[in-house]
């Protein structure tokens, strides 16, 4: 099968965009991604739009008609927070399968319109119907993780301090300011032990990625970024006990992507992962194999997980700073890593980065660790 590279990216500042509709938010990032790719809009053979439907159905068609790009197959993809990670993966699959040479993946949502949507709200899901909001799920993970590994509130809070220190340098971040440990530890309680500054903000936004078969990519792009591997899974349904400190879907997806990419966690130069809450950075560092179980906090305390350290985690400031509009989050991570690998990381550039990993989970479903998990290994 053919190799596939990313040749164009489009990104905007995530935030509270109450004055704009979804189409208005999204078309500029699509236009930017196509311009950057050096292809004509007519070259796009298929498009996938990751969205949780905050603007109703047919988001992809509505966005693309604004740019005169309909007439091609367009599919709207929902995988909760993983939606546009899946959209990129489907675009990658379409090119590999020979369906077309150039494909587009978009992510777009307005969470300030609907309120966060990340779990089944059809009323048939037990945990959800009885009040398991996502911040509570992560709060329970945090409680158990802190219990099992002796992590303190201060340690948990320092994740937020680090994330916002990096996010302050990211022009696309929803929150572009640093925060002190004291501010984090005295902020309003949301779901014990998670306080306000332990949670990502509720954001609106869009991001886009243009992918091409390698032979096309080499012709049109000076510095294509290769998709070395792409893996997606859903969580296994478990009615019994499961270890909530070691999220199985992330662990399983990571294991498979390392095998497919022919590398290991020690080969990564940077990672953008799903830090919707502070506990995620510790838990996912373990699950992705950057640390031994319970030792994710060491990366933080030894300065290894910040820019300049051995393995920068979320140089963009992550979901905690950049914000989390749900649909576009996966694509935004891929835009960030692509630009980092092209040396376009600006004030947060990871020097000499050659290999990067993105990871985005999605959705709370009773009995599943997560509804979805999507990971990509990118390289130059």
């Amino acid at each position: 099968m053919r190799d596939v590279s990313i040749i164009g990216t489009g990104m905007m500042r995530f935030g509270k965009h109450l004055d704009k509709g979804l189409v208005e938010l999204a078309w500029p990032v699509v236009k930017e991604a196509i311009a950057e790719a050096g292809v004509e809009k007519e070259d796009i053979g298929i498009a996938f739009c990751g969205t949780v439907g905050s603007a109703g159905i047919m988001a992809g068609q509505s966005i693309l008609k604004t740019l005169g790009m309909t007439g091609i197959p367009i599919a709207n993809v929902e995988g909760a927070c993983s939606s546009s990670g899946i959209a990129v993966r489907l675009a990658w699959m379409a090119i590999r399968a020979g369906e077309c040479d150039v494909a587009l993946a978009i992510g777009a949502d307005k969470m300030n319109r609907t309120g966060p949507r990340h779990a089944p709200d059809h009323g048939e899901d037990w945990d959800m119907a009885y009040g398991l909001a996502m911040h509570g799920l992560y709060a329970m993970r945090a409680r158990r993780y802190m219990n099992d590994y002796g992590i303190t509130e201060e340690q948990l809070s320092s994740v937020s301090v680090k994330a916002h220190k990096l996010g302050a340098k990211n022009e696309f971040a929803h929150i572009q300011k640093e925060v002190t440990l004291e501010e984090v530890m005295t902020s309003r309680m949301i779901a014990d032990p998670l306080r306000l500054w332990h949670c990502c903000p509720v954001s609106d936004g869009a991001a886009a990625v243009v992918l091409a078969a390698d032979d096309v990519a080499k012709k049109v792009c000076d510095k294509p970024v290769k998709i070395v591997a792409s893996v997606q899974h859903s969580g296994k349904y478990m009615t019994g006990f499961r270890d909530m400190t070691m999220p199985e879907v992330t662990q399983r997806t990571a294991k498979e992507i390392y095998e497919k990419a022919g590398l290991g966690p020690e080969d990564l130069d940077l990672v953008e992962f799903h830090d919707a809450f502070t506990i995620n950075e510790l838990m996912y560092a373990d699950a992705i194999g950057l640390s031994k179980p319970g030792e994710g906090v060491r990366l933080l305390e030894e300065g290894e997980s910040t820019v300049g350290g051995r393995i920068p985690i979320n140089p963009s400031g992550g979901l905690l700073s950049r914000g989390h509009p749900i649909g576009p989050t996966g694509a935004a991570q891929i835009v960030e890593v692509t630009r980092q690998l092209q040396g376009r990381g600006g004030a947060r550039q990871v020097e000499g980065a050659k290999v990067g990993l993105t990871h985005v989970t999605g959705g709370g479903v009773s009995g599943l660790d997560h509804g979805a998990c999507t990971m990509h290994v990118l390289a130059v």
Binding site: D121, Y130, G131, M140, M244, S366
Partner: protein, 135 residues
């Protein structure tokens, strides 16, 4: 999302009066073909796809796997409330609420016991939960 409809979560009863001692207990189900256990009761076995799911009365006592005190909970439930996962001796994990005045009393792995309470009613006056667990 106050417009969320909450249909019956199970077409079989999950909270029953135990004829033996006249007190309520929770009921899951067990697959007669492969032994898979599920709470709340379901019609089809997620393991072997058999449709011979038999009632499985659960113990009243379980262990508190983890919990959180929601200041700001799910919009359709309101808040504050204490949510938890309870691990039952029968091998199923149940999401529920905890009935306790001081959440500071709670610790992971402590025993908790079923308590049938006044139903938790949401902002729309709808019953969302008929039972809790308590230390």
């Amino acid at each position: 999302m106050s417009d969320v409809e909450i249909p019956p979560l199970s077409d079989q009863p999950y909270l029953i009066d135990d004829p033996e001692d006249d007190r309520p207990r929770l009921q899951g189900c067990e697959c007669a073909d492969c032994g898979k256990r599920v709470f709340p009761p379901v019609a089809v076995c997620p393991e072997c796809l058999g449709e011979n799911m038999e009632p499985l009365p659960l113990s009243r006592e379980g262990l508190l796997y983890s919990y959180t005190a929601f200041e700001q909970g799910a919009r359709w439930v309101g808040g504050p409330y204490i949510a938890a996962y309870i691990d039952m001796p029968e091998g199923v994990r149940i999401f529920t609420h905890i009935d306790v005045d001081d959440p500071g009393r709670l610790t992971c792995d402590m025993p908790v016991i079923l308590r049938v309470t006044e139903p938790v009613v949401n902002a729309d006056g709808r019953e969302v939960l008929k039972f809790k667990f308590a230390p």
